[in-house]
């Protein structure tokens, strides 16, 4: 258990070489030093030789500083952007398939869709497929509600991606 007062959620944007092995290097560095990550997403940028990672983790100040330095030191890492305290836009894709539903259930799910702002992307007689593109925390609560209400569900989550908002200077 970490009792350090500075222990909290952190967000990092990593610009890395888009090469085989780089993801393994980054995740290996985190696990090898026993740092616990919450999520890691990765995708190519406008420059196909560069990928951008969004890493979300919980750490105290000291550990977090060390993590950033370790990343900076990695040859494959081009830039480390700490967006923890920046104003950011963040979203996560989550799909939930709900099976064995009745007509009444279906009506309820449609109501939920309006209330919780997710979409129904596919359905048949006894199932629906939900797509939620929300913040991770919102997705957590959507999942909680659905998980409590329905028995037979299947979930896949993409992990959050984040980008800084357009700053006042840029506007």
């Amino acid at each position: 258990m970490n009792c350090d007062k500075s222990f909290r959620r952190r967000w990092l944007s990593l610009f890395v070489e888009n090469q085989t092995g780089v993801l393994a290097r980054i995740s290996g560095l985190l696990s090898g030093k026993a740092y616990n990550i919450h999520s890691l997403t990765v995708g190519e940028t406008q420059d196909p030789t560069i990928s951008r990672m969004t890493i979300c983790l919980d750490a105290d100040d000291k550990t977090y500083e060390q993590i950033k330095k370790q990343f900076n030191r990695s040859i494959e890492v081009i830039k480390v952007l700490d967006i923890t305290d920046a104003s950011i836009r963040s979203k996560e894709v989550m799909f939930i398939k709900i099976r064995d539903i009745t007509d009444k259930d279906r009506a309820e799910i449609f109501q939920m869709a309006t209330a919780f702002r997710f979409q129904i992307k596919d359905m048949d007689k006894s199932s629906v497929l939900i797509e939620a593109v929300r913040t991770e925390i919102k997705n957590d609560s959507i999942l909680k509600v659905i998980n409590e209400r329905f028995k037979n569900i299947e979930v896949v989550r993409g992990g959050p991606v984040a980008i800084e908002s357009i700053s006042m200077q840029d506007r």
């Binding site: 890395v16 000291k62 060390q66 330095k69 030191r73 040859i75 494959e76 081009i78």
Partner: protein
């Protein structure tokens, strides 16, 4: 531009890098590279007897010459045998370029004969590791490998070379520039931080330099000595930093850490400003973290940002090359003269006189006598050590003067390091005196390298401090585990078990114990080396004289030392400096096991 194979190009590139020796062991996946080496005749192949010996030799070569050590091994077992050395070089910042053969790209992933994912295995223990995936990348990657290994905080770089790619034709042009966007080591030192350092230095009443291996790697010894003399500030070192100023300097107070001396550790404990250069504040240095340098502001100069405030929180971080920083400090200090700290220096001298490093001379053969004789009989030797008590005694007593050098496995503490590292040092420094100080345990981990020393006619002097024990672990058992010598007696044999109680039934050394396992004199003879056994103190000088006279091959001097001698002082692992066990008189500090928290 001619088009040549990857194998041809590699050898060409090595020559362009000025590589004279390559530590290499062949196999199916590198036989074509060996063929190129055969045709060109340079770099010269140094063939060891085991790849672990190979890589430690490359480390010894690199650390004693400042040039990168180049290793070439085959895929699979050849590559995995390098792993300990790679980890060792990574922790001790040794520049190595490791070239590993790999099966052809079409076969990767098939569990092909001698296929291992060496890049995956070494990812966390290398400065950089990658596979060459296309012939077009080869030229650039070789250039980058040498650049990364030797700049910034040096370290090992591994290039995995698939056989088919190395056979392909491609450019013969070796790039003259590198541009790696994720790698721009900071060499230049920030003036503002130097200014802060200077003003703190001149305000301090009890300032202290703590010097690590980084000072030696930067080649800043002369500037450091000048800075010491200019400011009058005393210095201590880590074992990796020993030799960064001459050990007989009046402002030098010895090594800090677990087996550091009384004065040095008390200096850290009492200082009000600690200016540390090129050290990572490893736990063997700091002991219990909260108690390290409790009254001091800490300035940390290091080329590696990740080493700063990793273990110890630092007040002033200074990122950059140690030599550049020391020179700037020297320039600033030149205008101001000495720092007023004479009383502090006097107090430290008092500590030194109160409890000097010593070993009681009875009529036993003691390690200090051996290291003292190295000091008196050799002018500027390169001394390598193995790991354990032998290492600690050497780092405590070896006096480093002039070009003299100490090469020891500090970060990983790799047994089996001493002999091959000495071989590498001898290869890189023809004509210099090279001595390996080993334990009887660790020596046997790479004793096959006697063949390499013999065949290459290297006059390496191997001092085996034979105590019949894995002495350092036995020391822990004696001090903290009530003398329960589980698995540390090297004379333990089948008869011991017949007594029924395992090691617990042991009544100590007796006539029943095997005398020599092995007989190191016979081992020396088997390799065509000179063998000398020393059992009494008055034989030491003569043994070294005979060893020095042998110019065309190695000498083993086996010293039958007092078998239960301990390394003093010792700070209990995880303990504070105030817990120091200074000698047998501190009986109340024994026992209780170890909890490193």
């Amino acid at each position: 531009m001619a088009r040549i194979t990857g194998n041809e190009f590699l050898v060409k590139a090595l020559r362009e890098e000025g590589v004279e020796k390559i530590f290499a062991y062949p196999g199916a996946c590198v036989v074509d590279i060996f063929d190129e080496l055969y045709k060109t005749g340079s770099p010269q192949i140094i063939l060891p007897r085991h790849e672990q010996g190979l890589i430690h030799a490359a480390e010894g070569y690199a650390r004693s010459t400042g040039k990168p050590g180049v290793c070439l091994v085959t895929s699979g077992p050849g590559a995995t045998n390098l792993i300990t050395g790679i980890a060792d070089a990574n922790l001790d910042s040794v520049p190595l370029v490791c070239l590993t053969g790999q099966v052809a790209t079409g076969l990767i992933g098939n569990d092909t004969f001698q296929e291992v994912d060496i890049v995956g295995i070494t990812r966390n223990i290398c400065k950089y590791t990658t596979m060459v995936r296309s012939r077009d990348d080869l030229n650039r990657l070789i250039k980058e490998a040498f650049h990364i290994a030797t700049t910034g905080r040096p370290g090992p770089v591994l290039l995995d070379l698939p056989k088919d790619i190395m056979a392909e034709l491609g450019s013969d042009v070796y790039p003259d520039k590198v541009n790696i966007r994720g790698y721009k080591p900071q060499v230049k030192v920030h003036d503002g931080q130097i200014g802060r350092t200077i003003s703190m230095m001149y305000k301090a009443a009890k300032p202290l330099f703590l010097l690590g291996g980084g000072v030696k790697i930067a080649g800043a010894q002369a500037d450091m000595k000048a800075l010491l003399e200019q400011t009058g500030i005393p210095a201590v070192t880590t074992i990796m930093g020993r030799g960064s100023i001459p050990t007989d300097h009046e402002l030098y107070f010895g090594n800090v850490g677990m087996h550091g001396n009384f004065a040095a550790n008390n200096a850290v404990n009492g200082c009000d400003l600690l200016i540390s250069i090129g050290t990572r504040f490893n736990d063997r240095i700091t002991g219990k973290l909260g108690t390290f340098a409790p009254d001091a502001k800490i300035i940390h100069i290091d080329i590696d940002t990740a080493s700063i405030s990793k273990n110890v929180t630092v007040d002033v971080p200074v990122v950059g090359d140690a030599k550049a920083a020391i020179r700037k400090l020297l320039k600033e200090a030149g205008e101001r003269g000495a720092v007023k700290c004479e009383n502090w220096v006097k107090a430290l001298a008092g500590f030194r006189d109160e409890k000097p490093l010593k070993q009681d001379t009875k009529d036993k053969l003691l390690p200090k006598q051996i290291i003292d004789a190295i000091n008196s009989e050799f002018k500027e030797p390169i001394v390598t050590t193995d790991v354990g008590q032998n290492q600690m005694w050497t780092t405590q007593f070896f006096e480093i003067k002039g070009r003299g050098q100490l090469i020891t496995s500090g970060g990983l503490g790799t047994m089996g390091y001493g002999l091959p590292a000495a071989i590498g040092a001898a290869i890189g420094n023809p004509g210099r005196e090279v001595i390996a100080v080993c334990g009887d345990g660790g020596f046997q981990m790479n004793s096959q390298e006697l063949a390499t020393a013999a065949i290459n006619r290297l006059p390496v002097i191997i001092c085996i401090l034979n105590n019949g024990y894995l002495g350092m672990v036995r020391q822990w058992q004696e001090l903290f585990y009530e003398g329960e010598y589980a698995g540390t007696c090297l004379k333990r044999n089948a008869q011991c078990d017949s007594r029924g109680a395992g090691c617990a039934g042991c009544k100590g050394r007796s006539a029943e114990c095997p005398e020599y396992v092995p007989d190191f004199m016979k081992l020396a003879e088997a390799y065509g080396a000179q063998g000398i056994r020393v059992e009494k103190a008055d034989q030491i000088i003569d043994a070294f004289a005979r060893a020095k006279a042998k110019k065309d091959g190695p000498t083993i001097i086996e010293f039958i030392i007092e078998d239960e001698e301990l390394v003093y002082p010792m700070i209990r692992p995880g303990g504070a400096i105030t817990d120091m066990i200074t000698g047998p008189e501190d009986e109340d500090k024994r026992g209780g096991g170890i909890s490193e928290l």
